[in-house]
């Protein structure tokens, strides 16, 4: 086989072949060949592997990666249909805020595309709009957020809860993707976009809370439920709706396990002020419980994420089970 003739033949029909191929160093890392001598006998496998990586995902992903990506995909559907329904609702989102929610809805749609492509045939099917009950009533339609599509403040509060759950879920799932660096990086690239969404939704909520230009309103530490900072401060006093059933407090609370050692993976509440065994309050002059908690977002485990999200799907659906 003339490998280089093959590449040049492919280049004729696919000028982007070189972009699809891994950088050469990554190729060696992916195949465990770093620092090893390559023998002729190894070439056929290496070449077929390179093309699999460039053109598709014909090899099955490990089950734990599939689980992380399908949970992420489920959350993206939850969010996509929420924002899409909001944009379709009459007189809900003011004209000045529509561009933002179109961006957010489209970002979620892109994330769905990326996750489906990574999962291939292992991707869950599109659950469809009807699977979701954004009232928080598990299919009854009569949960505490039933008025969300007619009440902008309520709509924003639920949006914040979804997006913050998503940010915590990606963070919690990332360590399970380490075996596949490209999928890991894609997930990180989605994760930070979700955090940008959360920041913006929180900014909008501050403006709505006091009926003023969103970016002119500071966070109100005495009313973080309605007027949060663009970052999570402590547990945000339980989030937008701490006293309802379901409550948003779980979005900012601890996952499982909630405690662990400096190099363990665990999921404390967002009010956590110790990282890698270091007490942030004594490590930086001027740090407070609020600022130290704000400086680090916390992750959530898959089971806790599902228990939060399950409130927003029909109880008959297998989504988030």
């Amino acid at each position: 086989m003339d490998f280089f003739k093959l590449i040049s033949d492919i280049e004729r029909v696919d000028p982007e072949i070189y972009d699809r191929l891994d950088s050469r160093r990554r190729v060696f890392k992916h195949f465990g060949l770093a620092g090893k001598t390559l023998t002729a006998a190894m070439v056929p496998n290496l070449v077929s592997g390179i093309f699999q990586r460039a053109y598709g995902q014909t090899t099955a992903l490990p089950a734990d990666i599939v689980a992380v990506l399908n949970l992420a995909l489920s959350l993206e559907y939850l969010e996509f249909y929420y924002y899409d329904s909001g944009l379709k609702a009459a007189n809900l989102i003011p004209a000045s805020d529509r561009p933002a929610f179109e961006i957010i809805r489209n970002d979620e749609s892109g994330h769905i595309k990326v996750l489906r492509e990574a999962l291939g045939s292992a991707a869950i099917p599109d659950p469809g709009r009807a699977t979701f009950d954004y009232s928080g009533g598990k299919g009854s339609g009569t949960g505490p957020f039933a008025a969300a599509f007619g009440n902008y403040a309520l709509y924003l509060g639920v949006a914040q809860s979804f997006v913050d759950t998503g940010v915590r879920a990606y963070k919690g799932g990332a360590t399970k993707l380490m075996a596949n660096k490209d999928i890991l990086e894609a997930a990180l690239n989605i994760h930070s976009v979700e955090a940008r969404h959360s920041s913006h939704v929180r900014t909008v909520r501050r403006g709505v809370a006091v009926n003023a230009g969103a970016t002119t309103v500071p966070g109100n530490l005495a009313d973080l439920n309605k007027q949060p900072k663009s970052w999570i401060s402590g547990t945000d006093n339980g989030g937008p709706s701490p006293s309802t059933t379901p409550s948003t407090a779980a979005v900012y609370g601890a996952g499982t396990p909630a405690t662990g050692g400096p190099t363990d993976l665990f999921f404390p509440a967002d009010s956590n002020t110790t990282q890698a065994g270091i007490d942030l309050l004594t490590n930086t002059a001027g740090a407070t419980a609020a600022s130290a908690s704000e400086a680090f977002d916390e992750a959530l485990d898959a089971a806790t994420v599902k228990s939060i999200a399950r409130n927003f799907v029909d109880a008959k659906s297998a989504l988030f089970v």
């Binding site: 160093r25 940008r196 600022s291 400086a295 977002d297």
Partner: protein, 237 residues
Amino acid sequence: MPRLPRRSFLRYSGAGLAVGGLLLAGCDDDDDDIITPPGTIDLGSGDNGVLNYAYALEQLEAAFYAQVKTGAYYKGLAANSAEKQVFDDLAIHEQIHADFFRKVLDTKAIKALEPDFSTIKFDDRNSVLGAAKSFEDLGVAAYNGAGRYIQTAAYLLIAGKIVSVEARHAALIRDLINYNTFVASDVVDLFTPTSGTSAPGVGSGTGKEKSMTPNDVVNMANKFLKDGSKISASNIK
């Protein structure tokens, strides 16, 4: 050896393929060690390299916001204004990050870096916000691009905890500059649905943030570091 473009590299080593038992010349894991440029601080390799990389960027951000707080723009902000709260928060968050990495790295930490912010006008709102946007966006792209080099799961989790906070910062700073630009095409590969009624996932683009490689990030960061404090990420891989 000098760096060859990928295409030339493939053709170049093609000669070797004809020979049995070939050894891809100079292609072991260390093949393109860029010798750490003279006078730069090597961030190191492995997890310590990534942690020092983060430490360097957090130092830069912390120093920037500390200087913002001494400038006329910040000092002119009303006591209870949104912008004052933002810069107070950003200053302490970044200091907490920098101090955290110094403590984690302990004896492996690089030295305290001396910033050069001579291109930033600290009495001018646009200049300060523009620089803040650059630093925050750079931080997000840097963490996203470095995740793949982290070996220890607990450190990846820590990086994840910080990058989302940087993304929150970046989004708000961008909204302060121009409302509704919390996500835009300079930092995110925007997704465009095929039509107004497209099903989810149908369209062009990805909605993913754009990563930057450590070398590209360092080139940007070095513009804000004095001679003797410039850094090299050539061993992060």
